[in-house]
């Protein structure tokens, strides 16, 4: 009853209009919330799917239709952590080494500039 008649009735104008604006604000915020979450999840899906797949047993990893319920396993992580030492080491050496080198070269130059 309120919204339509309020805009048509010039006498009782003020209060209902304020209320409808408030309602519009709240519904607007709800709209932004829904839109925001839909977009956010859409962007996140590939990463989410990677994380889910990481916990799947091999037999559930590639199926049609894709499986969303499965008994999670840490077996794949165990395999990864057992063989990952050298790769982490190489990445660390490359990252730390290049950062130090860049700092050594850039600090004097930056102080000067």
């Amino acid at each position: 009853m309120s919204a339509i008649t309020a805009t048509q009735a010039p006498t009782a104008q003020d209060a209902p209009r304020r209320r409808s604006r408030r309602a519009r604000e709240i519904s607007g915020q709800a709209g932004w919330t829904v839109l925001g979450w839909v977009v956010g999840i859409a962007f996140f899906i590939p990463v989410l799917w990677m994380v889910l797949t990481a916990f799947k047993p091999e037999s559930a990893a590639e199926t049609w239709p894709p499986q969303f319920t499965f008994s999670p396993t840490l077996a794949e992580f165990r395999i990864v952590f057992n063989g990952m030492g050298p790769y982490i080491e190489h990445s660390a050496i490359a990252t730390v080494g290049s950062t130090i080198l860049v700092l050594v070269l850039a600090l004097p130059a930056a102080v000067h500039l």
Binding site: W32, G36, W37, G40, P46, T53, E62, L105, A109, L113
Partner: protein, 312 residues
Amino acid sequence: MAVLEDVTSPPATGLRPRGVGRRERWQRRLPLLPALIYTIVVTQVPFLVTLWYSFQSYFWNEPGGAHWTGISNYKEVFTDPNFRSALVRSVTMTAIAVIVAMLLGILLAVLLDKKFLGRSVVRTLIITPFLVMPAAASLIWSGPMLDPNFGLLNWLLEPFGVHHVAWLTTHAYGSVIVVMIWQWTPFMTLIVLAGLQGQPQDILEAARVDGANAWATFRELTLPHLRPYIELGILLGSIYLVTAFDQVRLMTNGGPGTSTTTLPFYLYQKVNFAFDIGGAAAAGVVTVVLTIIVASFALRMFARVFQFEEAQ
């Protein structure tokens, strides 16, 4: 080198008084020397070597080693339709990916600029793709997402009448671009969002008081304000995406045929499969010259963006 000087010389000349002695000038230069020497050693020396090889006929799979051939490598580069198509493909791929990522980035930034429930969580969700390594992102997409038999995308699209599309074979070019866009939209969003949040609120308030609607305010006030940020995002995105190799190598391997062979991948093929060091060097030199032309324009824009920041 000329490009580097362009950017660094104005403040340097501003700082340096006219009549300083030779000794003092060297004292000022000295701290810069390590960085300068290092830069020359790792960028200019390899370039000179590349230049040298580009005039040689040098095939790794032929006996006899390198010998001088003049400009025949360059002639070959300019007449090779594969080089030309790779160049065009690199440019169009980068342009499409950067422009779409920027448009999406502006939309997402406007969305994230609104107050809503769980905004900070959504912001994190949206930024995540940028934090994934390009190689890992390519593998996520080429395997679990786009696989014709088990891919999640086909499953999501099945209600809309899409049945087991082999994305990487039938839409290879588009697939690679989609992954690039997926990775770079968050970056564009962050830059544009920084611009949006740096916008003075009183101007927007004034526009509202004057009766401007949301779209007019956005077009007439917000967009001009965002312009330097958009330029910066486009510039940085182009620099990174034009050299993108991971996506092409891991998702489509340049194919089917040559339909996703970009310039970096073309050079890689020329060295690793054709063993044509001279030809690859010539193609590399041509690429560098073209890049310098584009980059000098881009850097001028870059300098203007920073001047704009200082003026504010």
